[in-house]
């Protein structure tokens, strides 16, 4: 069928990943990734007329990267809904493109949280506002909130620690095929279960990495895409939603906002679950993946644990998922959602070598931010 082309991803790139060293900055990583993504697209700085960014040190991340790169945008969007922000930015970008307000959108992210040791599990001092009911208990965040979701899912549906571990094991197997991945040695379910408990029931190997890294994605209009040499990846659907900020206010600890954003994106794209060849979802924790697959409707509520069992999502399995090694094993610089887009784009261009999903034509990306607070879903189609 002919699907509406809302815009195209014309270039994607990572910056250096892993541990970049204390002499690097988040802007430096963003610039490195932006240059590579624009060069891949065959575009120059003067072509960029819209900037999208979230996170980093600057109070205005879009003004910071625009000044740094010498861009004067006519559209600027620093929406921050956590790690899913960049997936939401794609939807915002194509909406602005379709409204005729811009033609070439640059989405960037960068973080040096690992080298700066800036990641903290909690907060000290006096807590003001609604956070005073959340941050006073010593619950490590975000892991403790995801642990609460996992406990509830296990209680409600009988999901097991082994099923959670299946996700970490399969994701590591994909990472083994990615030279850029932080951890590439295979792990077993036993390894996951033997790793220390951080916040029960989540073990260390149920948790994403803490790394540095940056990424960039260039989104262009269909007309611009037609003028470029490279193979475009078409944006054909998008949706976003958030249901809460703090974990105590999550309506149902087993259902993520993907239950709202997913159907919107898939209906817009005119695709069914069976049409999708490759799926990239935010894996902040193993439970995130199981709840996301259920919330997106790939299986019924409560069946996520069974769905990922027997390494179904690993290389060679019949449901290729998180094919770059994910936030669990490839990289996780705090806000991971941009890397989902980068991997899905490469899969749809057929560039992933050993990790290539044969004949991949349709991909679904689902970012999750906060404490299962926000989701943004993007459906992409190969040319």
């Amino acid at each position: 069928m002919t699907r509406d082309r809302l815009g195209a991803i014309a270039g994607v790139a990572e910056s250096d990943l892993g541990v970049v060293g204390p002499d690097r900055t988040s802007l430096d990583l963003q610039a490195q990734a932006a240059k590579a993504a624009l060069e891949e697209a065959g575009l120059g700085l003067s072509d960029v007329d819209a900037v999208f960014s979230a996170g980093g040190e600057a109070w205005s991340p879009t003004m910071a990267i625009a000044e740094y790169l010498g861009i004067t945008p006519r559209w600027s969007d620093a929406t921050n809904i956590g790690g899913s922000s960049f997936d939401a930015h794609v939807g915002h970008a194509v909406t602005a493109i379709r409204a005729g307000r811009c033609e070439v959108a640059l989405i960037t992210y960068g973080s040096t949280q690992r080298s700066q040791r800036s990641r903290s599990l909690g907060r000290t001092g006096e807590i003001r506002g609604p956070a005073q009911f959340e941050l006073i208990w010593g619950l490590p965040l975000p892991v403790g909130a995801y642990a609460l979701a996992a406990t509830r899912h296990m209680h409600q549906y009988g999901t097991t620690a082994e099923q959670l571990a299946e996700v970490a094991v399969a994701t590591r197997a994909w990472a083994a095929l990615n030279p850029k991945a932080y951890y590439r040695d295979p792990i077993s379910i036993g390894d996951v279960l033997a790793s220390p408990i951080i916040s029960s029931p989540l073990h260390l190997l149920d948790c994403c990495l803490v790394t540095d890294g940056g990424g960039a994605v260039v989104v262009v209009s269909e007309a611009v895409a037609g003028s470029l040499r490279g193979k475009p990846v078409w944006v054909i659907g998008h949706g976003e939603a958030h249901t809460h900020l703090t974990i105590a206010n999550m309506p149902d600890l087993t259902v993520t906002p993907a239950a709202l954003s997913g159907p919107v994106a898939m209906e817009m794209a005119g695709v069914t679950h069976a049409d999708l060849d490759v799926v990239e979802v935010y894996d902040s924790f193993t439970i995130t993946v199981i709840e996301t697959l259920e919330s997106l409707g790939f299986c019924a509520p409560g069946e996520g644990g069974e769905f990922v069992s027997r390494q179904r999502t690993a290389p060679g399995g019949d449901f290729p998922l998180n094919t770059n090694g994910g936030g669990l094993s490839y990289c996780h610089p705090g806000m991971y959602g941009i890397f989902l887009l980068i991997e899905a784009t490469r899969q749809l261009r057929g560039e992933r070598g050993e990790a290539q999903v044969p004949g991949a034509r349709l991909a679904l990306v689902n970012g999750t931010g906060g404490v299962l607070s926000s989701c943004a879903t993007v459906v992409l189609a190969g040319d």
Binding site: T124, G125, E126, G138, G144, L148, S200, A248
Partner: protein, 130 residues
């Protein structure tokens, strides 16, 4: 050792913390739609009414979910392992709190037991109902 984070009562939350100091668990009830509201705020999130009163809770509820914390930020490190739970109160609202029990489980009936941290401040912990 950095100090543990503590709440700063404000115009919305002061009545909650004043009651807590006296050993009572108090939440808001909307006079517009009759629904209970937690955390405290000046406008009802169900009906936009700004007529919100206060009710004393029974102090009883059940564990909606919990986690046993083994690794956390520095100021709580001397307390691990400890349990943090989402407690669903009989009044229908959910709150995050410490759960002071040996073997927590989802659905466990619990009741509030305030922990005094200073002359001004007591925090709602929960324990198993005997």
């Amino acid at each position: 050792m950095t100090e543990r984070p503590l709440p700063v009562p404000d115009r919305d939350t002061a009545p909650f913390w004043e009651a807590a100091r006296e050993g009572r668990l108090r939440i808001q009830r909307c006079l517009g739609c009759g629904r209970n509201v937690f955390y405290p705020r000046p406008v009802c999130p169900h009906c936009l009414s700004s007529e919100l009163g206060w009710i004393d809770c029974s102090g009883r509820g059940s564990v909606y979910s919990y986690t046993v914390v083994h690794r956390t930020s520095e100021e709580f490190r001397d307390q691990v392992p400890f349990t943090v739970a989402l407690v669903e109160l009989e009044e229908g609202v959910r709150l995050l709190a410490r759960l002071d029990v040996g073997e927590p489980r989802v659905g466990m009936p619990v009741e509030v037991a305030f922990e005094r941290v200073s002359d001004e401040l007591s925090l709602p912990h929960f324990k198993e109902v005997d």
